[in-house]
């Protein structure tokens, strides 16, 4: 992270011309997206945790929210710029084998907006791929994400061992799913990944893995399920730590009551307390959507908040609509 400032300048210019890229060129954009992912995750975490001195300053929240909005806008623009179908949407995924069949056929994902599992291998680019695929499918309501999430988990359960056999750096694979904070060995935060994972700072390592996969044709099918199982491995702990997050941020479930609305300045509630005030959308079905989003969201967050062994591997599950909903919740709609 500390040495990436220079690369980032180049990346930004590259990214504007983003079309199909050869693997070599993708070193830069990868780092840019990596950092964007990091910033996104950090921002979400910051908005949901109290700073050290328990001073939830409005200025700080506004700055973090603006940073999030900026990233959201970028993602939206990119989603528009990448209108092709899934394999192409994986164009940033460079070296990964594009001949692998687009797993839109994957039964677990037919009816929903989630990215086919084949693209999920592009751990670094998961987020971007997810965005583009979501834009394509014009993702329906958020609630569909839940069943698809569980579908992913199920299919992932099947062949984790296989993936480990395939790739000695399965740690690398997992680290690729957790782009946010794991690439810095000197990151002081507790969000750093477990240190056994090889330190990936650049796309070139992904190339190595991808090459390995390319050579093992029959593995493609199991790759999907492997990824599924890899993800599923994360989810139990996530579910566990979801609870801890709720306990950790009690203001998430602030005891808002009718009295609060009657006697307090509403805008203070919206901004002075934590951003995620779910009860404010208590009316009708929207609350369901919001709470579902919040569940996913919480899992996403807990992946960062919880132990080092579980980095934010689930962040890639956020699709653009999720992000929209999250932004709405954060600013208290």
């Amino acid at each position: 992270m500390l040495g990436k400032g220079l690369k980032r300048k180049l990346e930004q210019e590259e990214e504007n011309d983003l079309k199909k890229m050869d693997p070599h060129q993708e070193v830069m954009p990868t780092c840019y997206w990596l950092q964007r992912q990091t910033v996104l995750t950090l921002s979400l975490l910051k908005l949901h945790s109290r700073p050290a001195h328990s001073d939830p300053g409005l200025a700080r929240r506004v700055l973090i929210t603006n940073t999030l909005r900026h990233i959201q806008e970028e993602l939206r623009v990119e989603a528009v710029l990448l209108p092709q179908s899934l394999p192409n949407a994986g164009s940033p995924s460079g070296a990964v084998d594009r001949e692998r069949p687009a797993s839109a056929k994957s039964p677990s994902h037919t009816e929903n907006s989630l990215t086919p599992v084949s693209l999920l291998e592009e751990d670094r680019h998961l987020f971007l791929s997810l965005q583009s695929s979501v834009a394509i499918h014009t993702a329906p309501s958020v609630s569909k994400n839940c069943p698809s999430l569980s579908n992913i988990k199920d299919s992932f359960t099947s062949a984790l061992a296989e993936i480990e056999d395939l790739c000695p750096a399965v740690g690398i694979t997992t680290s690729l799913t957790c782009p946010s904070l794991s690439t810095e060995s000197d990151t002081p935060s507790s969000l750093t990944m477990n240190q056994d994972v090889p330190d990936i700072t650049c796309y070139s390592d992904t190339t190595a893995i991808s090459n390995k996969f390319r050579h093992t044709e029959p593995v493609h099918e199991s790759m999907e399920s492997n990824m599924d199982s890899a993800l599923f491995q994360f989810t139990p702990s996530l579910l566990d730590s979801a609870q801890s997050l709720f306990n950790h941020c009690p203001s998430l479930l602030a005891d808002f009551s009718l009295d609060d609305f009657l006697f307090t300045e509403i805008d203070n509630i919206l901004f002075d307390n934590t951003a995620c005030s779910s009860s404010l959308s208590a009316s009708s079905g929207s609350s369901k959507v919001v709470s579902m989003v919040r569940d996913d969201f919480v899992k996403t967050l807990t992946s960062g908040v919880s132990q080092a062994a579980l980095p934010s591997s689930q962040t890639f599950k956020l699709d653009l609509n999720d992000l929209d909903h999250i932004m709405e919740v954060l600013v208290g709609s």
């Binding site: 992270m1 500390l2 040495g3 990436k4 400032g5 220079l6 980032r8 300048k9 930004q12 950092q35 964007r36 990091t38 910033v39 950090l42 910051k46 700073p51 050290a52 328990s54 001073d55 300053g57 409005l58 200025a59 700080r60 506004v62 700055l63 929210t65 603006n66 940073t67 909005r69 900026h70 990233i71 904070l181 810095e184 000197d186 990151t187 002081p188 935060s189 969000l191 006697f263 307090t264 300045e265 805008d267 203070n268 509630i269 919206l270 901004f271 002075d272 307390n273 600013v331 208290g332 709609s333």
Partner: protein, 449 residues
């Protein structure tokens, strides 16, 4: 470029106040530093809501070398922690700002504020007391008039100096959001207080009313993208004030134009350099402090990486820009992660406006000589400098250090930061606060070794 060629400056450590051990209680962390208008008094506020006032050493204040000797003059509890029951929020007692009023009589007055309440304190001396009452004994017991045989006139006798601080006004309940600035007007009758979204104008005598002069709160809070971060009255024109925002703009307003100064008279904003754009561009552009020069001609703004001097007549760009710690530009993501990117550094002018100063990390502070276009990096560390001896200047280098007065960027300690600084209005004496201590430095024109 470091100041003097030999790596030494003319600045010397004069005094260090506060505990010298590393374990500092949260309440003792200094959060405000301010010289009064004569420089005789130096006030500090801390997170525990206390104010400690230091006074220049009276006997030696005419000796040039000893003008930077300050002793404790008065200590009092300014603000207490409060609890807002409606919102279930604690109101911190931390002192955010201290501003002195110009002295009108023997007593000294200052304004101090926490997040919600401003208080006017009177600090007065008592060094005499009346003695020789007819009806009262020395120990306070009353004498019966029938026991009197003679009468005498009470006289004032000298006593040990007692410094009393009493709250004369409490200006409360005018701010929904956290107060970040207070500024006394040059008319010496009014002052402004600014929070994240509003600026209020007060008359010093009246606590039950204040006038809102700036309100940037949107009708729909979801649309909020910008907050007020700092505000100050012009030192000479009582109708003019400025406020800085989190988006890096400074607006100058004229209170003669309208009652509500939402429309600015001038907007100071430097166009962004597209080559340095990053995710953190907005955050690092946020104005953390704004200070007028003593002359009233210029204005200085501090954002995360730079100090900018603006000519009030030119809004399009600053006339001078100084890099405080530009080497941090490549580390913004880490600084975002550990929250250091939100640190609000203050800045100050020298009395003759020829130099400016601000703090940095690793207990470094930076001085910029505007005339000579030179800058210094000095360290506030009682372990590394002997009182009275010139401080060595530092350089921060990108890689590993090669010389003795160099330090690598990666070796900087971001937990040691100097946020609060104040420059003596007449002398070359500066006071600054590290997390643990208050440091007072003096520049010696003829340093003795």
């Amino acid at each position: 470029v470091s100041g003097d060629g030999d790596g030494q400056s003319r600045w010397c450590l004069s005094q260090v106040k506060g505990a010298v051990d590393d374990d500092v209680a949260e309440a003792d962390i200094i959060s405000a530093v301010e010289f009064n208008h004569s420089g005789e008094l130096l006030a500090t506020g801390d997170r525990g809501g206390r104010i400690v006032i230091f006074q220049q050493e009276q006997e030696s204040k005419n000796i040039p070398q000893c003008r930077a000797e300050y002793n404790v003059y008065s200590t009092f509890q300014s603000h207490e922690p409060e609890f807002d029951y409606l919102k279930s929020l604690e109101i911190e007692e931390k002192i955010n700002k201290i501003r002195w009023l110009p002295q009108k009589n023997a007593a000294h007055f200052l304004l101090s504020t926490n997040d919600k309440t401003i208080k006017l304190w009177k600090i007065s001396e008592r060094d005499k007391r009346p003695e020789g009452y007819n009806l009262k004994e020395e120990d306070g017991r009353y004498r019966h008039p029938s026991s009197l045989t003679t009468l005498r006139v009470p006289v004032f006798q000298p006593m040990n100096l007692m410094v009393e601080a009493s709250p004369r006004r409490v200006y409360a309940n005018a701010h929904t959001y956290h107060i970040n600035s207070i500024s006394v007007n040059s008319d010496n009758e009014t002052y402004l207080s600014a929070d994240d979204l509003r600026i209020n104008l007060w008359h010093l005598d009246f606590t039950d009313r204040s006038f809102n002069i700036v309100d940037i709160k949107p009708s729909n809070m979801e649309e909020l993208t910008e907050v007020i971060t700092a505000s100050e009255f012009h030192p000479l024109q009582c109708n003019t004030f400025v406020y800085g925002s989190s988006k890096g703009t400074v607006r100058l307003c004229d209170m003669r134009a309208s009652a509500l100064c939402d429309q600015h008279s001038k907007l100071f904003e430097e166009p962004e350099d597209p080559s340095t754009r990053s995710f953190f561009s907005e955050i690092i552009s946020s104005i953390s402090d704004v200070k007028f020069s003593h002359s009233g001609r210029y204005m200085m703004t501090r954002d995360y990486l730079t100090l900018k001097i603006w000519d009030l007549h030119m809004e399009s760009q600053p006339v001078e820009t100084y890099q405080v710690h530009g080497f941090l530009r490549s580390k913004l993501c880490s600084l975002y992660e550990n929250d250091c990117i939100f640190d609000k550094f203050e800045c100050c002018w020298k009395g003759d406006d020829s130099e400016v100063m601000t703090g940095s990390y690793n207990n470094f502070f930076r001085m910029f000589n505007r005339d000579a276009q030179r800058d210094l990096t000095l360290e506030a560390s009682w372990e590394n400098c002997s009182p009275g001896y010139p401080l060595k200047t530092w350089r921060v280098c990108a890689g590993s250090r090669r010389k003795r007065n160099e330090i690598g960027v990666d070796c900087l300690d971001f937990s040691r930061k100097i946020l609060y600084t104040s420059w003596h209005p007449q002398d070359n004496v500066v006071a600054l606060a590290t997390v643990n201590n208050l440091y007072i430095f003096q520049e010696k024109l003829n340093p003795e070794f």
